[in-house]
């Protein structure tokens, strides 16, 4: 019995030290690999989450912009393109709201611009001055120009910009593509369901991360084909 005990002890001690060292090394390598894997997974997950959030914000901004766009021409007895809906290019000072000299888009339809201004009459009675509002896109953000009282012609130069999308993240600014439909046959319908619109507006951007195109169109049924 004693021989058996004596034989086993020296063998166990030698192997224990080396194996401990090797084990520790392997454990450290494994832990390092797992930590790196974990870091990568967490990083990618964070990136994807941020992209997804930004894409969601961008889609939400487009949704809000479209809802505002449907105010264009509301309540005006004879809403007219260029008079009551003006695609143009301008520079907005987000701090002061100054938007001087919005240059009307030149050439034939469709036009791609950074600003779209419109007029509407909420109470539809024509007794009060109409209201003007707009959308503006630049590298600083995508803005809703909140409604301000205005005349029946011309456009205000001072606005109250409201951020629809503040984080451009190096992406190109959203574009506003405005297309005019001259005939009833070519008129558009809101969501393909109702109305007969003479103007459609497409907001174009890119998805964050993948860079794929992001487009959304609205038919302005308050403007009949002209």
């Amino acid at each position: 019995m004693q021989d058996a005990i004596d034989t086993s002890h020296p063998h166990q001690r030698g192997i224990s030290l080396i194996s401990l060292l090797i084990g520790m090394l392997l454990a450290m390598l494994a832990l390092l690999a797992m930590l790196m894997l974990f870091r990568t997974v967490v990083h990618n997950s964070a990136e994807a989450g941020r992209d997804s959030r930004q894409n969601g914000d961008r889609s939400l901004a487009l949704l809000m912009a479209h809802q505002h766009l449907h105010d264009a021409g509301y309540g005006l007895p004879a809403a007219t393109f260029a008079t009551d809906l003006q695609p143009c290019n301008a520079t907005l000072d987000p701090d002061t709201g100054a938007l001087p000299d919005c240059t009307a888009a030149a050439g034939a339809s469709p036009w791609t611009v950074n600003t779209l201004l419109w007029r509407f009459d909420s109470d539809r009675d024509g007794t009060q001055p109409p209201v003007c509002a707009g959308l503006h896109s630049s590298e600083q953000g995508f803005y809703y120009l909140m409604p301000v009282s205005c005349e029946t012609s011309g456009w205000p130069t001072s606005w109250q910009p409201q951020w629809l999308l503040s984080d451009i993240d190096g992406q190109a600014p959203l574009e506003l593509k405005v297309e005019k439909h001259a005939t009833a046959a070519g008129a558009c319908q809101a969501l393909g369901a109702a109305g007969s619109g003479g103007v459609s507006v497409t907001l174009r951007g890119q998805h964050t991360g993948s860079g794929t195109a992001l487009e959304s169109s609205t038919c302005l049924v308050n403007f009949p084909p002209q």
Partner: protein
């Protein structure tokens, strides 16, 4: 012991490490899960919002279709309007349209454009209800309803059961006006605006309806009672011996001397002097409808005054068969039962005290008739341009030449077929003392003996002077001597017929100065039949004149449409003069009309605004044998006699306090047709359902926005 202690520490370290790693992994997983869930919710919310919007827009189109069905005809529109007008907003049952609710409200009528109404719909659409991703989209849609259009009168071959004299923009007759009918005939007088008649001599009136007040200040009727007088304000009748079955007023009724009624309902007060009456109801302004007027009422009849009492007052021998019922007081002084006792039912007092029965009346609980609704008048669109294709002659002036287009003549090809004509017109050289005077020619010529160049003579001039008949409108520089008619076409012809019989259409205003005519005259502007020349100068509608003419109608003579000794047979209007005889139904009875005036600017569809309406005023100071339809106003001079129905539609903007439909003293409107014309002449006119069928309305999505 030492070795044992080390083994325990390694165990705890391992355990702690595992716990920490486990916690870190748990936090990481939960964080990632939460972030994922947040993204999913945002994504689903966007998605569900899109679904909600799509539902809202689809509902907007469904509602448009629904509204379109409501304006296809007047019956549908009336039912819809009555259903929706009583409330500010009416919920719409969207049937199986899941997740969508909608309500409609009817906008007020626009006096400037009565042919359309706006309806506002609020549409609420929901998606994925009762979940965390529920979305709601609220859309406000405004629909433009083009109302169904009915044209006046009946076709000549229809039963003339709804004959009506229609005046829009009021009716003001300063003196005496008389309506003469055949026994048994009846007709309605519908007036948009106030009616003020100094003295009315009538028989056969079916109803008088006014969107304002009805003031008749004298006169009398024959044996036939008036079935209804209905006013959207006051009814004031004085010294007018008449029996009226029903009188209804949205404000006060005042009857003075010799007016008898079967039923009288006033939303305000009733002031009765004499006459025999059955039941009288006065709401005294205490019903929900109030006692209101839309129009400012005209002056009272001489001797009338505003009531200084409430409820009902009966004076001076008023006979009552049924009862007096009022929400105000009742003063029955001077009234008595026609037989037995009459009833008094009031929420107020009787002669200042609670009702006490006596030998004359008994006291009962007030049982009121429903309040009187306002009078509504259907919109009617009238534009003579729609009659252009019926005309045998269309006259226009280019500043140098009278240009004529012809159509439907017996032996002259319709103008559009004339390839050789200059600009598609015949030219007319109506020049004094030249041979071509009165001829229509293919080119400028003074020699009318060339039948190829000048196929027909269409005016008849005096033998003594060869005076031109058709004077074109003058330019402004040469207007001073021509006076008020300067810018009008002026016809100064000679009896017995100044231009060839047929339908004559003039681009512009027209003055019939001298001459006797067998024509249906149509003008895009105004028409004025002046007092010039003999009193026998007059206008006969084609169907009144008939194929061979008519003589001794009030001492006047009309030449025949088809056979006469003055014009070549090549100018016979072949739609009227057929192989089978005279066709009085040609163009659905337009031959019943003598004068038609008023138009919308070229290119207008379904009418136009008051501001853009052109002309439409017809003034007559002579006898006119035929129906008259004025797009805007009618004015009859003293002693004007009209042998047909008169309608004025008030589509222009010339109405003012003083400018309304007027008739001078002793105006007479003869609705009795001579025996020899009863088979071909309908005094109520044509152009009804046969000529221009009722135009269905339509619904268009006008404005939309998200709320």
């Amino acid at each position: 012991m030492k070795g044992t202690h080390h083994r325990k520490q390694r165990g705890i370290t391992t355990l702690l490490t595992l716990i920490l790693i486990g916690l870190a992994l748990t936090v990481a997983v939960m964080g990632a899960t939460r972030q994922l869930r947040s993204q999913q919710e945002q994504s689903i919310a966007l998605h569900s919002q899109t679904i909600a919007q799509a539902r809202a827009w689809t509902a907007a189109e469904v509602l448009r279709e629904y509204l379109h069905q409501q304006v296809l005809d007047t019956a549908s529109w009336d039912a819809f309007r009555n259903a929706i007008a009583s409330e500010s907003s009416v919920a719409v049952d969207m049937g199986n349209f899941d997740g969508v609710t909608a309500s409609l409200s009817l906008g007020p009528e626009d006096p400037a454009n009565p042919s359309y109404r706006l309806v506002t719909a609020q549409i609420v659409a929901k998606a994925v209800e009762d979940t965390r991703a529920e979305s709601t989209s609220t859309l406000e849609a405004v629909y433009h309803l083009n109302l169904p259009v009915v044209t006046g009168g009946n076709g000549s071959d229809g039963e003339p059961d709804t004959r009506a004299i229609n005046f829009k923009d009021g009716l003001n007759v300063g003196g005496n006006i008389g309506f003469i009918t055949l026994p048994g005939q009846s007709y309605d007088i519908n007036v948009e605006g106030n009616v003020y008649i100094g003295s009315l001599s009538v028989d056969g009136i079916g109803a008088i309806r006014s969107t304002g007040s009805v003031h008749i200040c004298g006169g009398g009727s024959g044996q036939q009672p008036i079935s209804l007088i209905h006013a959207s304000c006051d009814v004031d009748i004085r010294s007018f011996t008449v029996s009226v079955d029903t009188i209804k007023a949205t404000r006060n009724v005042s009857l003075y001397n010799h007016v008898s009624t079967n039923l009288l309902v006033a939303n305000g007060t009733a002031d009765i002097v004499s006459g025999t009456h059955n039941n009288i109801y006065a709401h005294d302004g205490k019903s929900e409808a109030g006692a209101t007027c839309v129009e400012t009422p005209p002056n009272n009849c001489p001797g009338s005054s505003s009531p200084s009492f409430t409820g009902i007052r009966t004076f001076w021998g008023t006979k009552v068969n049924g009862g007096l019922y009022s929400k105000g007081n009742i003063d029955p002084t001077g009234s008595s039962a026609n037989s037995g006792k009459f009833s008094i039912g009031t929420e107020g007092l009787v002669n200042g005290q609670a009702c006490t029965p006596n030998s004359n009346y008994e006291c009962v609980a007030p049982q009121m008739e429903a309040p009187v609704p306002p009078v509504t008048v259907e919109p009617e669109v009238f534009d003579v341009n729609t009659l252009r294709n019926m005309a045998n002659y269309i006259f226009s002036y280019d500043g140098n030449n009278i240009r004529v287009k012809v159509k439907g003549l017996e032996d002259i090809p319709d103008t559009p077929e004339q390839g050789e004509l200059s600009d598609g017109y015949y030219l007319m050289y109506d020049i004094k003392n030249v041979p071509s005077n009165g001829w229509i020619c293919k080119k400028q010529t003074f020699y009318a003996n060339n039948k190829e160049e000048c196929p027909a003579k269409i005016t008849w001039y005096t033998a003594s002077g060869n005076q031109p008949v058709i004077h074109p409108p003058a330019t402004s520089s040469s207007c001073s001597s021509s006076g008020a008619f300067c810018h009008n076409w002026r016809l100064s012809g000679n009896s017995p017929s100044s231009i060839a019989p047929g339908i004559a259409f003039f681009e512009g205003s027209l003055t019939l100065n001298l001459g006797r005519f067998t024509n249906t005259f149509i003008a895009t502007g105004d028409i004025h039949v002046t007092t010039g020349g003999s009193w026998t100068n007059t206008v006969f509608a084609l169907n009144y004149a008939g194929p061979d003419g008519i003589t001794k109608v009030s001492g006047m003579t009309a030449i025949g449409v088809c056979d006469n000794n003055h014009y070549s047979t090549v100018t016979r209007p072949k739609d009227f003069c057929t192989d089978k005889g005279y066709n009085h139904k040609a163009h659905n009875g337009i031959g019943n009309y003598a004068l038609l005036a008023g138009s919308c600017p070229e290119g207008s569809q379904n009418g136009c605004s008051k501001e853009s309406y052109i002309g439409g005023k017809i003034t007559t100071e002579k006898h006119v044998f035929g129906a008259i339809k004025a797009g805007d106003l009618f004015e009859g001079g003293q002693d004007t006699h009209i042998y047909g129905y008169v309608s004025s539609l008030g589509q222009g903007s010339r109405r003012t306090t003083l400018t309304t439909n007027k008739m001078g003293n002793t105006t007479r409107i003869y609705l009795d047709v001579p025996t020899e014309r009863q088979d071909i002449y309908d005094p109520s006119g044509g152009l009804g359902a046969d000529s221009s069928p009722p135009q269905p309305g339509s619904a268009v999505l006008r404005w939309t926005r998200y709320l």
